[in-house]
């Protein structure tokens, strides 16, 4: 993935070029709040992040978001929560010659890593 949560926008340089990211808004925000917006700069569009909204996009293009905002003069509720679930496509898992997978635990407490030399017969 990479850096996230930056209003200025960013790209997820560790994502695979052939994959897409799915971002699901699962926030709990009062109806009268501004829920925040998710911007895809290259496409010149944004998505209003109402709860249960899913955005599917390439993490390799510049994207960014704005936070939820309480109405003017209203103290933000303590149980207003933003929760974004991001299903992304790491290059390390998908690129044919670069996969590295922590398979199991070794007796010395270190992970047994299956690198591309092992996973590619």
């Amino acid at each position: 993935m990479g850096y996230f949560g930056l209003i200025a926008g960013h790209t997820d340089e560790s994502d695979d070029e052939a994959g897409l990211t799915c971002m699901i808004s699962n926030s709990r925000i009062p109806e009268n709040y501004e829920p925040g917006r998710f911007h895809l700069f290259g496409a010149g569009m944004y998505v209003i992040l109402k709860p249960k909204t899913a955005s599917i996009f390439s993490g390799l293009v510049k994207h960014g978001g704005t936070p939820p905002i309480a109405p003017k003069g209203v103290t933000p509720s303590e149980d207003a929560v933003r929760l974004m679930v991001v299903l992304y496509c790491p290059k390390a898992a998908l690129t044919p010659d670069g996969t590295s997978m922590p398979l199991a635990s070794l007796p010395n407490g270190m992970p047994l890593i299956l690198g591309p030399e092992i996973t590619n017969p």
Partner: protein
């Protein structure tokens, strides 16, 4: 005393603090998918180890996979068989896992042998398809630092190369002296 050196009793494995698929995979996948992942990983590991032997070793993948099962309400769940399909794709038959009754000695008819060579060919085709997809999608997604067409070709060449990342033929192992020392030590 000697036996103690070789077998000190069963131990509960110490689990690393890293996220690992064997221990944590059940969180994101169902039992049969988890078993498929672990069995396939063990197959790849076995192939990697036997590939270091001087004698060429053939692994019958279907026999290997057949030996894994998990308990279910109706009996044991076994993994499906692999068959080389058209264009070097892998077909799973049946598409879902097989449930056998506990008293049944054999859960299916003998599947067609599927070797690591078949597996490697299928993986190569899969890798080329993935690189082609990467290139196609990159051509319609604007990026600040686009990947050059030559780089995609290099990736394809690496996959098709005799000593590339998907081929182990070129690998040489340099531990013969060390191994000989250990063998001498064992027999002293």
């Amino acid at each position: 005393m000697v036996i103690h050196d070789f077998f000190s009793g069963p131990h509960k494995p110490k689990i690393t603090e890293h996220g690992i698929w064997s221990h944590d995979g059940h969180v994101v996948m169902n039992d049969i998918s988890h078993l498929k992942l672990i069995a396939t990983s063990l197959l790849q590991t076995c192939s990697y180890v036997t590939g270091q032997m001087q004698t060429p070793v053939t692994i019958d993948i279907n026999k290997f996979m057949e030996s894994f099962s998990i308990k279910a309400d109706g009996g044991d769940i076994h993994l499906p068989s692999w068959t080389a399909g058209e264009n070097n794709s892998v077909t799973l038959s049946p598409a879902t896992a097989i449930i056998s009754q506990p008293q049944s000695s054999s859960h299916s008819t003998s599947p067609t042998p599927f070797t690591m060579e078949d597996y490697r060919r299928c993986r190569q085709v899969e890798a080329i398809n993935w690189i082609n997809l990467q290139e196609r999608l990159s051509s319609v997604r604007p990026r600040l630092q686009p990947v050059r067409a030559e780089e995609y070709q290099e990736r394809r060449d690496a996959v098709n190369s005799a000593s590339g990342p998907l081929r182990r033929n070129g690998i040489k192992f340099h531990f013969i002296h060390h191994l000989k020392y250990n063998i001498d030590y064992i027999f002293i």
